[in-house]
């Protein structure tokens, strides 16, 4: 097969041929080619984050009616490099009394936990690290490892506020894992496999059209898992003094920052793979490079939506966040699973032209019922209006002229 048809597979086979030609046993050939492929993927993911940061800053600037960075280079594209350079040479201030191994290992673990997901994502039909048969659960399990990094950061900092911030962050993350894992059952049910590439291959109709509610719940819980607005209480500057990464400076802090952006992009990538058809598109099966381009286009749109959410929504309070999760999203996702399972199984012999609209209608009915319940719940709570139309306007008081009276009142 020619180079242009499928560059990655062509290069891999050429490399394997060269290495076998040198007389290496096949196991070593595999190890070396895996190492080179993995290194390119990981380095590419980490370098891509500079473009992500630049894009986010420009877009947030426009949402807030200002220019983003526009001094360094055309449209400010070198701003991220300048920031990286600055963070590289800042001093690593290590406070006294820290536990050295958790303190230093935490940023590395945070970044590693996010990067490890990239090995199972199918970037196109033939471009993937490994088509693990339990790829979806691997993604969830690795997310659990990231929470460990936060606890190690909070504990190792020898700081009350860091510890408190770390606990709240972990409580938020584990709470939002429940609706995420439950709503992930829907693509697995529809595709019949846990392998990501298989789920993409089964999406003749994108899963977001078959079950929009599951996609919505998954998207919301993933935004909460990353810790972006409106769920970014744990890292908000005005509360808890920047949370668990108070005592980090220099590149260690930069690593947490990078981990968050890579996590946000990874989340958009997973959402695209599971619900928006991944690399599928016209001509993606013959020309895998086209599949990669489709994937990146769709992911950029999803990431765009996430940035817009960040720029426009106010932050949740911690008890509001927990209420939304345990009282709204978890029962809703469980009921959704039950309804979707019944509907899909009952309509299995029918053609997709009937079953897909029926599924969409069922989802919309669920959304409507939820909305009615919420309206009634808030009406029952009767939030008291503080300032209403009938309140008298505060009148301008005449200033007290006699000073003896005012001194006496003290």
């Amino acid at each position: 097969m020619s180079f242009f048809r499928d560059p990655v597979v062509f290069l891999t086979q050429w490399l394997n041929g060269v290495l076998a030609g040198w007389g290496l046993p096949p196991a070593w050939v595999q190890v070396i080619s895996f190492t080179i492929g993995g290194a390119i993927l990981a380095t590419g993911a980490m370098l891509f984050v500079t473009i992500l940061i630049w894009g986010e800053r420009k877009l947030l600037g426009r949402v807030q009616d200002r220019y983003g960075p526009n001094r360094l280079g055309p449209w400010g594209i070198f701003q991220s490099f300048a920031d990286m350079l600055k963070i590289f040479i800042k001093e690593h201030i290590t406070p006294v009394g820290v536990d050295l191994i958790p303190y230093n290992l935490a940023p590395i673990l945070s970044v590693a936990a996010v990067l490890m997901v990239w090995s199972v994502i199918p970037l196109s039909m033939t471009m993937y690290g490994v088509d693990l048969s339990v790829g979806l659960l691997y993604f969830v399990a690795v997310g659990a490892l990231g929470e460990l990094g936060i606890i190690m950061a909070g504990w190792g900092s020898n700081n009350k506020y860091a510890l408190l911030g770390a606990f709240r962050a972990v409580a938020q993350l584990i709470s939002y894992e429940v609706p995420m894992v439950v709503s992930l059952l829907v693509p697995v049910m529809l595709a019949g496999s846990l392998s990501m590439n298989e789920i993409v291959k089964q999406q003749n109709i994108w899963f977001i059209f078959i079950s929009p509610l599951a996609a919505l719940i998954f998207f919301v819980t993933q935004i909460a898992e990353v810790g972006r607005a409106p769920f970014d209480l744990v890292e908000a500057e005005s509360e808890l003094v920047a949370g668990f990464n108070i005592e980090y400076s220099g590149l260690k802090f930069g690593m947490f920052f990078v981990a968050e952006f890579v996590h946000a992009f990874t989340v958009a990538l997973i959402f695209t793979t599971l619900f928006l058809g991944g690399w599928r598109g016209p001509g993606a099966e013959q020309y895998p490079l086209l599949g990669f381009i489709y994937l990146m286009l769709k992911t950029t749109i999803v990431y765009f939506i996430a940035i817009l959410m960040r720029g426009s929504l106010p932050r949740f309070r911690i008890d509001q966040m927990m209420d939304v999760n345990w009282k709204l999203l978890t029962p809703l996702s469980l009921i959704l699973i039950a309804v979707t399972a019944l509907a899909v199984k009952a309509m299995q012999p029918l053609s997709p032209w009937i079953s897909v609209p029926v599924n969409i209608v069922l989802n919309l009915i669920l959304i409507y019922l939820t909305q009615q319940l919420l309206v009634r719940y808030f009406k029952r709570r009767k939030i008291r209006e503080v300032g209403s139309r009938n309140r008298p306007v505060a009148r301008l008081e005449e200033p007290v002229t006699s000073t003896a009276e005012s001194e006496g009142s003290l």
């Binding site: 536990d99 048969s133 339990v134 659960l137 399990a141 690795v142 659990a144 460990l148 504990w155």
Partner: protein, 174 residues
């Protein structure tokens, strides 16, 4: 020694070493971190046996839920933040180690006549992932349906018990 044996020995050593460090660490926070390492070692052992599903479920449930729960439990005790003073290892630990080594040697020698102990190492052949077989078995009335439903009742009991204890304590303690 094939590569698989070497990898197995390394992973087993890491797992057992982590377990040893759990028992002998001074600060309770370190014990939780060593516990995570031990559970990771078990997950890697599952992966070596080509049980993919159980490997990721081990990481997801044990490290993602149980280790964090144990961590919260450790944090509930006040003494965990204070440095534990004396070492937890007995002064004459080498006597115990010698006794255990002798016992192990005795066991190994006594099972030599048993024929099954000498079967050669069999390389597992590649097989197709059996998750869907597991799924079918879980809902088959002739297979594992009753344990499946009973486990849900068990989880319900766990939740109810924990809530009862916590709500009771919340009223009692601060």
């Amino acid at each position: 020694m094939t590569a698989m044996q070497i990898i197995f020995l390394i992973v087993a050593a890491v797992t057992l070493g982590g377990a040893l460090m759990i028992a002998t660490s001074r600060r309770m926070m370190h014990t939780v971190l060593w516990l995570v390492l031990t559970l990771m070692g078990v997950a890697v052992l599952f992966a070596l046996l080509q049980a993919n599903f159980f490997s990721v479920v081990q990481v997801l449930v044990y490290i993602g839920a149980i280790a964090i729960l144990i961590l919260f439990g450790v944090m509930l005790t006040r003494r965990s933040m204070v440095d534990a003073g004396e070492s937890l290892v007995h002064k004459n630990w080498w006597v115990v180690a010698v006794v255990i080594a002798l016992l192990f040697a005795a066991i190994v020698i006594s099972i030599q006549p048993w024929g099954a102990a000498h079967t050669p190492l069999v390389e597992l052949m590649e097989f197709k992932e059996p998750i869907s077989d597991l799924g079918e078995a879980l809902v088959d009335p002739a297979a594992y349906l009753i344990p499946f439903e009973v486990s849900s009742v068990l989880l319900l009991a766990v939740m109810v018990a924990a809530i009862y204890i916590a709500v009771d304590r919340k009223g009692g303690k601060s």
